[in-house]
């Protein structure tokens, strides 16, 4: 379907992309331009309700989200792309549940929408996450063709977070690899990162610092252990927690992690030859400057190649 409409999508930035994650918004738009994607922002969009509203009052929350779907549908969109994982989940959940639970969700929500002169038939638009759109619709080959500045020598820990893998998609929910593959296409080295889909703490930073910082510490520790230069994420919440609370977590545990956390679109922009400033690099709290300076430096340290392979060692099963 995306082929016929020439990669044209309705775009739902969500509130984060206007504030803490403005770099995500900026880089997404630049990258979309280069790849020939038309992103049409949903006119007059509103909050997705985040996680809180759904826990307290579900029907108003569904109605709130459904308004965005209705607006996108009225704009004639077939596909709605959301870069924020939480927005993506809420939009997709509402779209699915309105159809699946018609009497409990679908009909009452439409009753609420009617008050504003709107109506939404579930399934009219299909809700997609930005990463999925890039790797599936645009494809690794088309992305590779735009790479002019390969991120050679940069060791990346790809961090997916918990939300985008949970709705039933074609990606493995326990150990997704599509962001890994995308980073490789950009020329970067991807490290094994067992905690790639673990929790970043979400809003726990506001409720219990001990719980949140411990979750943040685990992820930073794991990335550092695999000698990553930086963490790449696709979720504003994950980025905020790992970046903004990194100093606090260091203080609490007496550690000294210094791992920049960037959005994957920022790295795409860099690889496409854009200036760091043009993709919002510099707005992160843990500076990415030193890490990014490694790009292109041909210094693949020799000690990283496994040295244990002596004659006695047993062969490893080959990975596809």
């Amino acid at each position: 379907m995306s082929q016929t409409n020439g990669h044209s999508y309705a775009y739902y930035p969500g509130c984060s992309l206007q504030a803490t994650a403005h770099a995500y918004d900026l880089s997404t738009k630049r990258v979309a331009d280069i790849l020939g994607m038309q992103l049409q922002e949903v006119d007059d969009w509103n909050c997705c309700g985040a996680t809180e509203y759904f826990s307290i009052m579900s029907l108003p929350a569904y109605s709130l989200v459904a308004r965005n779907l209705a607006l996108a549908a009225n704009q004639g969109a077939q596909e709605l792309v959301a870069p924020c994982s939480a927005c993506y989940l809420n939009l997709r959940k509402t779209n699915d549940y309105m159809g699946k639970y018609r009497s409990k969700v679908g009909d009452p929500v439409n009753e609420a929408l009617a008050a504003g002169g709107l109506h939404y038939t579930p399934g009219t638009v299909s809700v997609r996450h930005l990463l999925d759109v890039l790797v599936t619709d645009i494809g690794y080959d088309a992305i590779a063709a735009k790479v002019t500045y390969p991120l050679k020598g940069l060791r990346i820990a790809p961090y997916y977070g918990c939300l985008i893998v949970r709705p039933d998609t074609q990606y493995n929910p326990e150990y997704p690899t599509h962001l890994d593959e995308l980073m490789r296409v950009l020329g970067a080295t991807v490290v094994d990162f067992p905690l790639k889909a673990h929790c970043c703490g979400g809003h726990m930073t506001q409720i219990s610092e001990e719980v949140a910082y411990e979750l943040i510490r685990r992820i930073l520790h794991n990335a550092a252990e695999y000698e990553a230069d930086l963490i790449v994420t696709l979720c504003p919440m994950c980025q905020l927690n790992l970046d903004a609370y990194q100093p606090q977590a260091n203080r609490m545990f007496g550690t000294s992690y210094n791992l920049p956390v960037l959005f994957f679109t920022q790295l795409m922009g860099l690889a496409f030859g854009l200036d760091a400033k043009d993709v919002g690099i510099g707005s992160e709290i843990v500076s990415a400057r030193n890490a990014l300076a490694k790009i292109g430096r041909e210094e693949e340290p020799a000690e990283r190649t496994p040295t244990r392979r002596d004659k006695k060692a047993l062969p490893m099963p080959p990975m596809p």
Binding site: H221, L314, P315, P317
Partner: protein, 675 residues
């Protein structure tokens, strides 16, 4: 037709049919159908009393046609055909209406609809049976030779049983040696006797049996014919070794400079050379050259093996051979593939060095394996202090395979015992349910409890090297919900063994198609009846044994091999088989000789007779599939027992209540205009 006298018999099948279909009403209704002189319902038509009822009525009422409304003809068509025959009625004048699988079982919640459907099915059968003609079955001699495909323990046993009774067997094996998975094991549960000690004598017997022709490194490419008279084409891959000269001395593989990982026999844990014999006790003893890895075949120079071979047995020019086998029966014992644990990335197989598959671990514990039986980490030297054994990897998991692989619990206990015996390491078993269901199995479980193996009930969530707590650094951490305690646990270990599922062979569907049999949803070969006929298939003369039918352990595979052999021997001793006379027949007077049917026939059963300019069906090859009948533009091919009139009458009967007059008129189909 007006004088035909039909008897209709409606079976209750206990509650199976009568619980849904109003059988009494159906029988009363059927009695009123044209030509029906008697209609009865009875609790179990297939019982001897039920059969006697049919026989008695045939004699008493002078029945000329019989309709039995009961279960699938797969189940009891032979039963009622025999009953008719005993009463002097040609067995092909009996028709079954399947009101169980096609009515009561699928419409359990709608008795009225099920009853209506039963009536329609019976009406169709009555109309059809009136059009049937008496047929006489063909008789064909059974060839004495049996083809056994697969040389694992099940195939070996089937081959030996048949050969010992004095009949010739041809055993075809894909790999260079017979032995199958059992040859990879060190010990066997629950008795812990050495796998090689009990298997190799049998392998030796196969290799030296006067009645067994062994074709290793060979694959079946094509199967034609029918029970008693199969023609099978086998490709014998070039060993590049002349077996009439080779003594199996081993000079060639000792000199071979190409070392590659052996992913078959050593399960990826060890190496072999390009010219190799999988293991010392291999039968036959001759090596093969793997052309994919041989330096000479890849780069054009080397020939080290040829230079050093003392008997000049290496022959690089040797070509594949095609062998045609005439066999009366076939036993398929093609075994299983191990689940590829890389499909569950959170278990780390292939990523984390010290995560092993169960077959890798079998090879590791084997005294003749890559480590000489020492249990060590992937570095080849460090002994693990703690080992986790994870059950149900790819089994009992709706994401991969729903079924239980049946042997893993016992194999895990065996591993636990071997670890305790050899290293004294702590062993944790992560299980969902401990399934130790055969003789002396539970006792073995109790023994391991005594030996101090730890059992944690819960499916492992992930295996990671991301340390979080003190004591986890440098370890693999098994994250699991202990469902007996109701708590999440993280257990640091040095080594993990994943008990991968038993899966159908990757090409099982293809092989099934080649032999004309079916596969279950899971992909295993389908038996004729899950309880009463587990070794036969829907194709007469093709039997199955071992793990190709479903996961099973060694004793069960051995038993099934012997059972398949008994079935084959019983057919051989009958000397000839009765073959269904359902065949296509060409009316040569009206055949235009267009030859359209010639190439359509999937069994190549239609010959073109040049002199007469007509096509003719060879009844020995024809399977009665009806392809030619439907394709003939002159409509001069008739499928016996499925004639045009019989099929149209059956359709009319099925639709008895769709037209007011109970009669459907049909018109000859008109040619469709080309678009």
């Amino acid at each position: 037709m007006a004088e035909e006298r039909v008897g209709v018999y409606v079976c209750h099948c206990g509650h199976n049919i009568a619980g849904t279909v109003d059988v009494e009403q159906v029988a009363q209704w059927a009695a009123e159908l044209p030509n029906v002189v008697i209609a009865r319902d009875y609790k179990f038509m297939c019982s001897s009393l039920g059969q006697e009822l049919v026989e008695q009525d045939i004699r008493e009422y002078g029945l000329t046609r019989v309709v039995v409304a009961a279960c699938s003809p797969h189940m009891h068509e032979p039963t009622f055909r025999r009953a008719c025959e005993r009463a002097g009625l040609n067995p092909y004048l009996m028709e079954m209406a399947n009101i169980r699988e096609h009515a009561s079982w699928v419409h359990q919640h709608s008795a009225e609809s099920a009853t209506d459907k039963a009536k329609a099915l019976i009406s169709g059968a009555v109309r059809r049976v009136l059009e049937l003609e008496p047929l006489e079955p063909f008789r064909a001699p059974i060839k004495e030779t049996t083809l056994v495909v697969g040389g694992g323990i099940a195939g070996i046993n089937a081959a030996l049983e048949i050969a010992n009774s004095g009949h010739p067997v041809i055993l075809v094996e894909r790999e260079p040696s017979i032995g199958g998975h059992m040859a990879q094991f060190d010990k066997t549960f629950p008795t812990l006797d050495c796998a090689a000690c009990i298997l190799t004598p049998k392998m030796f017997d196969v290799g030296n049996h006067p009645n067994i022709t062994l074709l290793t490194y060979s694959e079946v490419e094509q199967v034609d014919g029918y029970v008693g008279n199969f023609t099978v084409r086998v490709r014998k891959k070039a060993r590049k070794v002349d077996t009439s000269l080779c003594t199996g001395c081993g000079e060639c593989w000792e000199r071979c400079p190409a070392k590659v990982v052996d992913t078959v026999y050593e399960a990826g844990l060890g190496y072999r050379t390009a010219v190799y014999r999988p293991f010392p006790q291999a039968v036959p003893k001759y090596p093969v050259i793997d052309v994919e890895t041989c330096i000479y075949f890849q780069k054009g120079t080397c020939k080290a093996c040829q230079k050093f071979c003392p008997t000049g047995a290496i022959n690089f020019e040797q070509e594949d051979e095609t062998i045609i086998i005439e066999a009366g029966n076939i036993v398929l014992a093609t075994g299983y593939d191990l689940f590829d644990a890389r499909r569950i990335p959170q278990y780390g197989y292939g990523r984390l060095a010290n995560v092993f598959s169960n077959l890798e671990f079998e090879r590791m514990t084997n005294a003749s394996g890559p480590t000489g039986g020492k249990i060590v980490l992937r570095d080849g030297v460090t002994e693990p202090q703690t080992i986790a054994i994870v059950h149900c990897v790819g089994s009992r998991d709706k994401n991969y395979n729903v079924y239980c692989s049946a042997v893993c619990c016992m194999a895990a206990l065996k591993f636990g015992h071997l670890v305790k015996e050899k290293t004294g390491a702590e062993v944790y078993s992560f299980y969902i349910d401990m399934r130790t269901i055969a003789k002396n199995y539970e006792e073995f479980y109790l023994r391991l409890l005594d030996e101090g193996m730890h059992f944690v009930r819960g499916r492992v969530a992930e295996i990671t090297d991301a340390a979080r707590r003190p004591g986890e650094e440098g370890k693999l951490i098994v994250q699991v919900e202990d469902t007996l305690v109701g708590k999440q646990r993280r257990i640091p270990v040095d080594m993990v063994v994943l008990m991968g599922a038993i899966e159908p062979r990757h090409d099982a569907a293809e092989v099934a198609h080649r032999f004309g049999i079916g596969c279950s949803d899971a992909g295993f070969f389908t038996e004729r009846h899950p309880k009463l006929d587990p070794v036969a298939t829907m194709t007469d003369g093709v039997f199955i044994a071992g793990c190709c039918q479903g996961p099973k352990d060694i004793p069960e595979s051995v038993g099934m091999g012997a059972a398949a052999a008994a079935r084959v021997l019983s057919l051989i001793s009958q000397g000839e088989v009765e073959i269904e006379p359902v065949r296509a027949h060409i009316n040569e007077e009206r055949c235009s000789g267009c030859r359209i049917c010639n190439n359509l026939c999937p069994y190549s059963a239609i010959d073109y007779i040049e002199d007469l300019g007509v096509s003719r069906v060879n009844p020995a090859l024809c399977k009665g599939c009806g392809t030619c009948v439907a394709a003939c533009p002159s409509q001069v091919i008739e499928g016996q027992h499925f004639t045009f009139d019989a099929i149209m009458s059956q359709i009319e009967g099925l639709l008895w209540d769709r037209r007011g007059d109970g009669h459907v008129t049909y018109v000859e189909s008109e040619p469709v205009e080309a678009a």
